[in-house]
Amino acid sequence: MTNFSNDPKIAGKSSLKTIREAINDALRAEMRRDPTVIVLGEEVSGGAGCPGEDDAYGGVFGVTKGLMPEFGRERVIDTPISEAAIIGAAAGAANNGLRPVAELMFFDFIGVSFDQIFNQTAKFRYMFGGKSKTPLVIRATVGGGWRAGAQHSSMLHSIVTHIAGLKVVMPSNAYDAKGLMVQAIRDDDPIIFLEHKTMYDNTCEVPDEQYAIPFGEAAFPRQGTDVTIVAISNMVTRAIEAADILAKEGISCEVIDPRTVSPLDDEAILESVEVTGRLVVVDEGNPRCGLASDIAGIVAEKGFHSLKAPIRTVTAPHTPVPFAPELEDAYIPSVEKILAAVRSIIGG
């Protein structure tokens, strides 16, 4: 369904895979290729010290399932519930010869571990005069839609995007998830890899072989000439749905999925706006100091003369994520809200 026009086509065998399987594929193949790659976190295998089965969870969303039986507990490490120590250990190990993939389970747990991420990990390379290498991947689930309430549903990507020294990756489909995870593991800098928890079962064709998708290169799941819609993660699917509806009305939307929000492919966005003259940014995060306002700001500053209409942002409201289904559904940007935003700046 998705047209990755700027990705090299991968020859060879491919199959329909979920995002969960695609990330598992990437982890497994990288662990086979490179013995310094390890996985650590809470329940990444599960069942440690228990009377029942090992690998009982394989991560609470099953993303790391099967890795412990193949690579052993030395390389797939169940930790105590100690997020600060998990991130610290992963960062320290990354500085000393390993390539850890640490799991935070829910990105809301960043709060417990934040010093290790932003004061320590993110600053090493610059603060130590370029002498430090921290090939670390921090995986975590983000986003609402699971009725998981305020402390398990946050969309905190803008906070880490704000921090200099971190790369922030947010795949929207299985093909990208695999290629971006491979790139993340091979990258020498700390990566925050954010997986939307409602998307794990989404499928698309995924090549069997390993491939890396470079950071900072946007994808164009829809090409168009009237309006540019920038969306990330879960919102890409909704932006595509909106674009397809609008196409039937004769409104041609270009949907841009930056795939990584740091580095951000601002050139792709600016070039698109040069053609369309109109921009809508869709983001499930809160509106203040968020990714949507950041992208809107970049275009206002660098692409002002291309604009034929005001920039629109479609975001969650400025509240924590509510529990009740009616409230959560109203909280997360909908296709209808994207349609309304586009229509509000298109002629008439």
Binding site: G46, G47, Y57, D108, A150, Q151, F323, A324
Partner: protein, 323 residues
């Protein structure tokens, strides 16, 4: 008789209400009436009730993600709780919190908590306020065995000793931190030994025995009220359900839960003891059981017909500033 009859009746009623509430939550979740994911505390009732039975609404408790039992033991209305868990606007938190974030400030219930180790530092604050204002109120944090390994909890324990806060750190050790053995995550042999290392009185008790738990809590509560500072209690117990409802629990032993329900049921142990001692009759408790079933039935029926929140008015309310 070492305990007043009213006390025993209250203890039994509270424990049994938790048991039936939790088992009904499982059914309602499986029936699709409860959104999200839910962590139930059946099997651990004796600890919640022993801890809260002597507390007033001014004494503060902080809870965990497995918080329904603590709420009920602290006196929260089960009707309002069921509405909250079902996401209704007349629930304890207007449907905005849900099972993992349920709170009732008026009852001194500072909230369930979906962040492991999120509660104890806050409960230190409640204890600090009580100490500073000289109210003689106390604070108690419920902690899972897994939370013992969070820095936030260890910092809170140390500070409670340094400031001599009226804070009871009550650990419910059910043997599992999610799907990992408690003694895998704990580097030392004994959590209680580690707790004592912080410099506070620490003991390990049988959390299946209401009376043993109550007696330990009574001493700790009195110590806190008298300005004697914090206490740590590790109550050993059993989790009858999974980490969350629907957890396949592959990590547990064959027949482990079945056996636990047979031989490690704190309610059965309570009933056996009070009947053997001649403190209460089975008939009295059976009559209470029937009343509780009616109350639970009503709580569910009311919750199922309770109004849903309206996004137009409820999504943007209770915020500090609107954009």
């Amino acid at each position: 008789m070492p305990y007043q009859k009213d006390f025993l009746l209250k203890a039994y009623r509270s424990m049994k209400t938790i048991r039936e509430f939790e088992e009904r939550c499982v059914k309602e979740f499986e029936g699709g009436n409860i959104p999200g994911f839910v962590h139930v505390s059946n099997g651990q009732e004796a600890i919640a009730v022993a801890a809260c039975i002597d507390l007033s609404d001014k004494d503060i408790i902080g809870s965990t993600h497995r918080g329904h039992g603590h709420c009920i033991a602290k006196g929260c209305d089960i009707g309002s709780m069921m509405k909250e868990i079902m996401g209704r606007v007349t629930g304890l938190c207007k449907g905005k919190g849900g099972s993992m974030h349920i709170a009732d400030i008026d009852k001194g219930m500072l909230g369930a908590n979906a962040i492991v180790g999120g509660g104890p530092p806050l409960v230190n604050g409640a204890a600090l306020a009580a100490k500073t204002l000289g109210t003689k109120n106390i604070a108690l944090s419920f902690n899972g065995d897994g939370s013992a390994n969070q820095g936030t909890v260890m910092e809170a324990m140390n500070m409670a000793v340094v400031l001599q806060l009226p804070h009871i750190f009550l650990y419910e050790n059910n043997g599992y931190a999610e799907g990992t053995a408690a003694n895998y995550g704990l580097g030392c042999e004994s959590l209680t030994d580690r707790n004592a290392g912080f410099g506070m009185p620490a003991e390990c008790i049988d959390g299946l025995d209401f009376f043993a738990t109550y007696e330990a809590l009574k001493v700790a509560t009195q110590r806190a009220r008298d300005g004697g500072g914090p206490t740590a209690i590790e109550a050993m117990c059993v989790r009858f359900d999974g980490h969350f409802i629907g957890d396949p629990q592959l990590y547990r032993g064959t027949d482990e839960i079945k056996d636990a329900r047979k031989t490690q049921d704190c309610l059965k142990i309570f009933r056996k003891r009070v009947v053997a001692e001649g403190w209460l009759t089975a008939a009295t408790m059976n009559a209470i059981d029937k009343e509780i079933m009616v109350e639970i039935e009503k709580a569910v029926a009311d919750a199922l017909t309770a109004p849903h929140p309206d996004p137009a008015t409820d999504l943007m309310s209770d915020v500090y500033c609107s954009y």
